[in-house]
Symmetry: C2
Subunit: 154 residues, 2 copies
């Protein structure tokens, strides 16, 4: 996604108006790697602009998506997550905390895909699921972590 200033220009060029609500969302989204859902963005926006409507958040997200400034990412269940990263990339979703991370895959062309039977793919979306670093650190003790001994209660 481009900078708030660039988006302001781009919106005006498309006869879209630049309202304070939109400017706030531009700021909240720019460089945001948290993959927020619409309601999370709504909560953040509400703190800075009480009274902003969830409807407006959806509206602006849809406008930005239509302009290719962000993509909506479906990660299994739950609400869509919005991603201002417009690089060609994919996602990893942590099974424990639900966080979404950007990952880059260089050699998708090297995949041996069978069963296309004439299907002509134009895009590939990959979602890795697993455990993020923080969640592994919290729950998987390192080798020298104190451990129950033979004499401790089971």
């Amino acid at each position: 996604m481009r900078s708030p200033a660039d988006l302001t220009e781009a919106f005006r060029r498309q006869n879209l108006k630049v309202t304070p609500q939109r400017q706030l969302l531009f700021r909240l989204l720019h460089g945001n790697a948290a993959h927020p859902s619409a309601d999370v963005l709504f909560a953040e926006a509400s703190e800075l602009m009480p009274g902003i409507s969830l409807r407006t958040v959806y509206q602006t997200l849809n406008d930005l998506a239509a302009m290719g400034e962000l993509q909506s990412v479906s990660v299994g269940s739950g609400p869509s997550r919005f991603d201002p990263n417009t690089d060609d990339h994919h996602h990893a979703v942590c099974d424990r905390c639900g966080d979404v991370f950007d990952v880059y895959v260089n050699n998708i062309g090297a995949l041996e895909v069978e069963g296309l039977n004439g299907f002509r793919p134009s895009a590939t979306r990959m979602v890795f699921s697993g455990t993020c670093q923080r969640c592994s650190t919290l729950s998987l003790p390192t080798p020298d972590t104190p451990r129950p001994t033979r004499s401790s209660t089971q």
Copy 2:
């Protein structure tokens, strides 16, 4: 997904009862490569068993998914699609007709994935989007397809 007969056994072993509704759904799902949604399945089931409830369809799909006999596939927008194919495989979704196809990818291990930063993937889901064979055939005429001439009505 196993055969209706095998599922009947498996359900009984888990103290799940084998009702006519479930048996019908076993039959409708076994070997079904159409990736039906719950409501499509409900429509099909209703023809053969008027009065069956949508709630029961969801219930049975959830039971089967919990037993690992089928997987629920999220394809962007729209309802979940159900897939009785338990092979390790992926999906292709036609942008035009919405049909979902199974595809097999052999060498996922060969992917060069960057940006994991300690994320430990345990599963990978890939969705190819594009145009299926039938949709390409219908809309992209071959070179010798009859074509409007200069004199024909627009």
